[in-house]
Symmetry: C2
Subunit: 505 residues, 2 copies
């Protein structure tokens, strides 16, 4: 099966060209891996298969790193000492980190398949989801379909007008003008006069005031488009582009039961290989190998050591920059240069799935200009009569800093307050919440590596180069930062180059 | 739960305002229902619950009517005598009729919930699915994301140009012009000069030539947009609007295991109520009730009779127009006026899910200008290593007539030929196929009632009116023709009016 895939065109587009082949006998070479996130575990999994002896040191008492789901009964302590006990009902969860697997992320999808992690579709764009601005339409949210329908309609109408008035004559040939007009009419739901007008045609895009029914029930009522000027001023159109980004296009997946299922599956596979609760305090290489000093991440205690002929270090640069490590100047400069983004997520449990039952919103994302930024509806257990957990907030930048400065309970309370401006049902139905502010996560101090073009030009190759017996891997050592695919591809590239060295020596 | 739903805003938009309430004692009134499709079974289910005695006559030996899935082992005989034995592997199926449940079809979704029919997301728009024209790009298909990215980009570029050149001054205020330019830039992925150009920005919409990877693997290569003129001439942009239609917007669902699960569930619920294999040959009402004469639909034999105080007739108008029935002129004229659309579907089983494994197409629809019209990829069992069934053809109008004129085996062969122009893997991987040409289905002779505005103005109210003791129901007696929601809403409206009559008498 996978041989067929490797041979075909698509796989060539992706950085993943099929299962990695590390041929040749490494003759008992040992590899010390730092970090049991996806990059570290992928390296361990493949290197062990190729004949290496592998060992992983991991700060947490679980595998996965940022591949992580929080379930009822879990506790989580952030920097500053706040401990949250998750009180979600059985089966409900929050993915504090990654939550999506785009269809073109072939490497992570490959490992899901290999590890038996069941996947289900993740709904990103939902026509019934809401777009909300406190400064537009009296703070009343609009359905995505209304905004998209009207936006397309007005764009089409304006462009058709320009075309008909001969104002695109330099840019478009006469023949193409006819086609452009036809395209605008069809795409924008314009009438025969190339106008975007209230009626059946436009209601079949933006939704009806009252839907068509059966028998002698009342005839359907078309809905009223927004005024173009109100729409432009609202800024709500900004959400339309979001769903067209390569990573957010259909079809997207999520593991059934939580993103953390991938980390757990890798962890099971690597039973006995991972030393949990190990906080690395120093990394030192010599001509023959690499030694990591570590202490118990909870209790401290006497330093212990682990050693390998080689080391794959997947510790986030935000943490690694604080650990003594004898690598060359260029790699050290690269490690120190990467800034880690601020991000927060808040999960809220509600007594019932009111977004489905009352508003027919099944999965997808609503956007708001409030600090919570968005509401993510669960893409699983649709139509269930039970409780549900929403992603109540997910933001970056200033709002994330603002959130991180609050104690967890206040973050949750604020998120409920913001959400109630979009779904009044929040007030009645809210039960319990949990929040993760990534700048307060002790083992990453940020959500993901942030590269600018300038930083990448100066430091990226140095970060990824082999330094003596040390290689770095992780999402920060990829061109897909913040994506699990980046972590896996970075890991595969690192072990490929490591293996070449070993085979050459 | 449902009380809550009924009370909320959304339910008001739909023709379905929550579970039907038929209060008052019908005192043993009997209702004869013709047809065990969704309309007929919904009527029986609700009337029985309200205290009526109900009985259904059904032509087929199964419940569901057009709510139907074909599985391995099934046989199907069409008009003209061709019998097909379905040879799909276990678990694989074709839905010859409806295959989608839009999120706003609240009535059918309600019955799925009530009947315990499990639902899963149906992927309609897939960025990786293909758009194919034999007359464009040398017959080489383009990915949906490429067509959408380029179409939006060029539309944005043209409109930005018009705006900048002051050519929209009558239509757009100065303040809105700035917003419009910002919107075009963001939505269309334009560069700072408002141009749609090859690069990272546009590749993040249309996909990359080679994707970003990890470590020191080659830097990503941007993809080359199509020329605007080629894109316009290709007509491929037509597919973009399709996914924005109200019924085709996310989130859409399908029953796990096939659409026919709904019919089966209703059938189980109505065990003992349905007389299968009954071909109605005459419907006659008098002052006291309605008598239907029927014969065995397979063997013929002696006519039998069934009688009720009232009759809900859900037999498609295409068939009903051929059955003697003593209704008034207006209803008879309405029955005779409805034209039934031609439509065909072809299901093809392949040895492996090459569309997923080779091309990362998970669900969704590819479109082509060939007579097969589209290829629908299964929205279930994603990533499975087993076989898969594609919807190889689904069309209406002239192509459907052309298809219907061929024997089933030839339809399948043609469909494989067309499909191989899009997916060359067809040639190697095809195993077996089945086709349903709706004009050859003995119990409908067409796929659904087709209304024009003129026909509806003249006949619709007459079709739906109570005629003595007879009411008609079904998708044809709704403003949602061809949709199961229309059948259910029509049925609910009919029984509501029937119940009013009974209570009033």
């Amino acid at each position: 099966m996978y041989r067929a895939m490797t041979a075909m065109a698509f796989a060539g587009e992706s950085g993943f060209t099929g299962p990695i082949q590390l041929s040749g006998d490494p003759k008992g070479a040992t590899v010390l891996i730092l970090g049991a996130g996806l990059a570290g575990m992928c390296a361990a999994y493949e290197l062990r298969k190729a004949g290496y002896k592998v060992q992983i040191l991991e700060y947490n008492d679980r595998p996965g790193g940022r591949n992580w789901s929080l379930y009822g009964g879990d506790t989580y302590t952030e920097m500053g000492g706040f401990t949250q006990k998750v009180e979600f009902d059985k089966g409900l969860y929050l993915n504090p980190g990654p939550w999506r697997l785009p269809y073109h992320h072939r490497a992570i999808l490959h490992y899901c398949k290999v590890l038996g992690v069941a996947l289900e579709p993740f709904i990103q764009v939902n026509a019934a989801a809401l777009l909300h601005s406190t400064k537009a339409f009296d703070g009343k949210p609009k359905a995505f379909r209304e905004v998209q329908g009207d936006f397309n309609g007005y764009v089409a109408e304006l462009l058709a007008k320009s075309t008909q008035q001969g104002r695109l004559d330099e840019a478009v040939t006469q023949e193409d003008k006819e086609l452009l007009l036809a395209a605008m009419r069809e795409w924008g739901a314009l009438d025969k006069n190339y106008q975007y007008k209230k009626g059946a045609l436009t209601s079949e895009r933006r939704g009806w005031q009252s839907d068509p029914g059966g028998g002698l029930s009342p005839a359907p009522t078309p809905s009223e488009p927004m005024a173009m000027s109100d729409l432009l001023k609202s800024g709500l159109w900004s959400a339309i582009a979001a769903g067209m980004i390569y990573e957010f296009q259909d079809t997207i997946f999520q593991p059934k039961g939580g993103m953390g299922m991938i980390g757990k599956a890798f962890g099971r596979e690597l039973d006995g290989v991972i030393q949990y609760g190990a906080k690395v305090t120093e990394i030192r290489q010599d001509d023959r190998g690499v030694t990591a000093t570590w202490i118990d991440s909870k209790t401290g205690g006497a330093p212990r050591q682990a050693r390998g002929d080689w080391c794959i270090c997947t510790i986030p640069a935000s943490i690694l920059s604080q650990i003594p490590i004898n690598v060359g100047g260029p790699m050290k400069a690269a490690i120190d240069a990467i800034y880690y983004d601020a991000s927060i997520k808040v999960g809220l449990q509600f007594k019932r799935r009111f977004w489905e039952q009352d508003e027919a919103i099944y999965g997808g994302i609503s956007y708001t200009d409030q600090p919570n930024s968005l509401i993510g509806y669960p893409s699983t257990d649709f139509f269930s009569s039970g409780k549900g957990v929403l992603l109540g907030a997910y933001n970056f930048g200033p709002s994330a800093f603002e959130y991180a400065a609050m104690p967890p309970a206040e973050r949750v309370a604020k998120t409920v307050e913001y959400g109630a401006n979009i779904h009044p049902q929040y007030r009645e139905e809210f039960e319990t919440g949990v929040s993760v502010a990534w700048h307060r996560v002790p083992w990453t101090m940020g959500c993901a590596g942030h590269w600018t073009e300038e930083l990448r030009a100066e430091h990226y190759d140095n970060l990824c180069a082999v330094d003596g017996r040390i290689l770095l891997a992780g999402e920060h050592a990829s061109r897909l930062p913040a994506w699990q695919e980046g972590a896996i591809l970075s890991s595969l590239d690192a072990i490929r180059r490591l293996h070449q060295r070993v085979m050459a020596s």
